[in-house]
């Protein structure tokens, strides 16, 4: 018997089957070129594709491009596209679609616009070749071709139309392993296998149902009662994870977040109030018990953040000043800072129970060293507004890092990114010419060894200055039935689509 089952397992992927997954909240649209929120990326990553995919170590893998080369001066990137790829409506996918997608995304996709800022021109010498020429070497460039950052958009459906009101937005057409079939708003989204997918033998799964279940407890129950098989990271409250993990035939993995590396910190208002004082900010770092928060609030998931960069992304170093939990040191620093019990306003992140509890814990830590904390309750739009308008002293947040310090880290610390009205730039108002220069140089330094040195220096300075209080590298575990195999194979996890997944009968 034992021999038999090993033999069966070694036979490899089985075709067929249906996967029921949870999507939370319901995406506003599946047109990935226009909408980039988390749920949209998670569902539409099955429908659309990028030129490249990325391994868990963030090395580029073939996607719609089968091979690529970089010129010696680091300025010219040449991509060879996979031949014979078709859109879901049967039209061929060619280099013209790539050129069109670049123009499309420059207009509609804030992050793509930033990523493409160093682009001088893009050309298509033939149907299956695309050549990107940069103004100067830009190290992170090879990292911007993932499906959520640069999805390919069908030229034949969008050229010459008003992108935002194009009726095609409601029936997304991509080149991906699954095709959009049905969307009952408020209930479910149904995707079906793309029979003419360009990777032979893929996908294995016939259908995917994404169930919209708004209540976190109800999502847990849906899994428990066997109605769904996949709970993507973040779809249940953290305190439910240990319980669900113990259920029969249940597998849990923290993999698949390497590219995003959600990094959480407290925005500290560097402009005014006690938090404008560096000593006060350092005192905060010593006052907060991050280990306990990790163990109690996050059930041991995640990692203590050591600085501005997460440990999974490029050029990370832990050779930086350390801030262990030390209330005595915190009190001494507060005294040095001349803190006299002024009120500080703290904004928790209104993303559910876990975040609320975390904020309460931090408030307790701060009160223990004598900081006078006032908690401000908001909903998501209110939080966005307060943070965007710098109307806070301490605010919880977490941001994605996109694999490279030039893409997802620098934006939080350089002074050119100080602008009212957006909660995704240098909200804390930290301004240091040396840091500005290091990040500017780091983005365009060549080769990679030069970048490494620059970012090591930047991380050290930032950790000394504490512009924000780094908390945890978050981990959002994906919970599945163990019979669902090969679901997560790349650094963007579930967002990369279910092309390799299969179900063990």
């Amino acid at each position: 018997m034992c021999m038999l089952s090993t033999a069966a397992a070694a036979e490899g992927p089985k075709a067929g089957g249906v996967i029921n997954a949870v999507i939370q909240p319901e995406p506003p649209s599946l047109m990935m070129g226009l909408v980039q929120n988390g749920p949209t990326q998670m569902v539409a990553g099955n429908v659309y594709e990028g030129l490249l995919r990325y391994s868990p170590k963030l090395d580029p893998l073939p996607g719609l491009a089968e091979s690529w080369s970089v010129s010696e001066d680091g300025k010219v990137y040449t991509f060879k596209l996979v031949k014979g790829v078709t859109w879901h409506d049967g039209k061929p996918f060619t280099s013209a679609d790539v050129l069109f997608s670049i123009e499309f995304l420059k207009q509609t996709h804030a992050r793509a616009r930033g990523n493409l800022a160093q682009l001088e021109k893009v050309e298509a010498p033939d149907e299956s070749t695309v050549v990107f020429t940069l103004k100067q070497p830009f190290g992170p460039f090879i990292g911007i071709f993932e499906v959520g950052s640069l999805p390919m958009i069908p030229k034949h459906l969008y050229e010459g139309t008003d992108f935002k009101t194009n009726p095609a937005n409601n029936t997304p057409v991509g080149t991906g392993p699954f095709m959009f079939r049905e969307w009952q708003k408020g209930s479910f989204i149904r995707l079906v296998k793309n029979p003419s997918y360009h990777v032979k033998g893929k996908p294995n799964i016939d259908e995917i149902y994404w169930h919209v279940i708004p209540d976190a407890a109800a999502r847990s129950v849906a899994y428990e009662t066997g109605k769904v098989d996949v709970l993507p990271g973040g779809s249940v409250e953290n305190f439910d994870v240990p319980r669900l993990s113990k259920l029969k035939n249940t597998c849990v993995t923290g993999a698949g977040w390497e590219f995003f590396s959600p990094h959480s910190w407290l925005w500290l208002n560097n402009r005014s109030g006690p938090t404008a004082n560096k000593k006060f900010r350092q005192a905060l770092m010593f006052a907060i018990d991050r280990n306990m928060a990790k163990d109690v609030v996050w059930n041991g998931l995640g990692k203590i953040a050591t600085g501005p960069s997460g440990s999974a992304i490029k050029y990370y170093t832990n050779a930086v000043p350390k801030y262990d939990h030390d209330p005595a040191k915190a009190k001494a620093l507060l005294k040095e800072a001349g803190y006299k019990g002024e009120k500080v306003r703290m904004l928790p992140l209104p993303y559910g129970e876990t975040w609320q509890r975390w904020a309460e814990m931090v408030r307790q830590n701060l009160q223990d060293v004598g900081i006078n904390v006032e908690m401000i309750a908001t909903d998501v739009p209110g939080w966005n507004q307060k943070v965007s308008e710098w109307d806070y002293d301490i605010a919880f947040t977490y941001l994605y890092q996109y694999g490279d310090p030039a893409l997802g880290v620098g934006r939080n610390y350089v002074s050119s990114q100080i602008a009212k009205g957006s909660p995704f730039n240098n909200v804390e108002g930290y301004s240091n010419p040396e840091i500005d220069k290091l990040f500017a140089d780091g983005a365009v330094a060549f080769p990679d060894a030069a970048r490494e040195e620059i970012y090591a220096k930047a991380q050290k300075i930032l950790v000394e200055d504490v512009p924000v209080a780094w908390m945890l590298e978050l981990q959002f575990p994906t919970i599945t039935r163990c019979s669902v195999k090969n679901l997560i194979t790349t650094g963007i996890g579930v967002n990369d689509g279910f092309r390799d997944a299969w179900i063990e009968k």
Partner: protein
Amino acid sequence: MISFIAQRIAKAIVVLLALVVMNFFLIRMAPGDPAVVMAGEAGAGDQLFIAQLREKFGLDQPLPVQLFLYVKGIVSLDLGFSFRQQMPVSKLILDRLPATLLLTGTAFAISLAFGILFGALAARFAGTWADTAITIAALIFYATPLFWVALMAILLFSVTMDWLPSFGYETVGAGYTGLAHVLDVAAHLILPATTIGLFFMATYVRMTRASMLEVSRLDFVKTARAKGLSDAVIQRRHVLRNALLPVVTLAGLQAGTLVGGAVLTETVFAWPGIGRLMYEALLQRDYNLLLGVFVVCSAMVLAFNLITDLVYRSVDPRIEFAA
């Protein structure tokens, strides 16, 4: 009667327009706007991105202009466009309205039927153990938070006993048709409808009981008894019929709130109704959609009030129409 209805409808339209204007300003008083929410969900957003969204939503226009355009739309029965969902508001609402009407309609029917039945029983057996049991049960269901009852019902009937589905409107992907589909939807309907129903039922029980006890002490009941009518006939034709008037008033008021009142239940049971649509629109500051749901709910409240007045008259022919 026709002129009564016409006058009431004319009044209702004026009230509705006033509500639209009031809601318009109320929503915009909340901090945050849809552009920043959408940028937030995208995980990034530069100034240009947010400015583009504001322009798309028409939020770059002065407030009076926005109001004028909105009211102009409403007058021509156009509820506007939800930029977030990329769909006309009226389509979004019409897609969800049937599910809500089914849920709340069933809940309403359950609560009214059982509420009056148990209320009448409690009054009939006032002071006995049956009365005490009914009254206590009603109080418990009235005092317990809806979402808690919902979660306990799920725990008991879905997780432990596995009798009823815990979420959704139908079994997704089962492809049922005809009677099988009806039964499938009915199975999904039982838990959420009962949860809402129990809460409203409690008020009808209390109201019917109190009202019946009051009426049964009146002179005409004594007369009926003196005439030698049977107890069952007295209770049904003389006491209950007269006691129902305040219950109809209450039911009319509650029928209006049923649409918006299902937010919690729809959320816990993932019921694809209008309550959830409204809640999500609020969290995303999807102004047009939120206003649209408000307009539809208000219109329904007004319609239910009108229907209540008509029902009133059929219950008690002494009441005359006066607009």
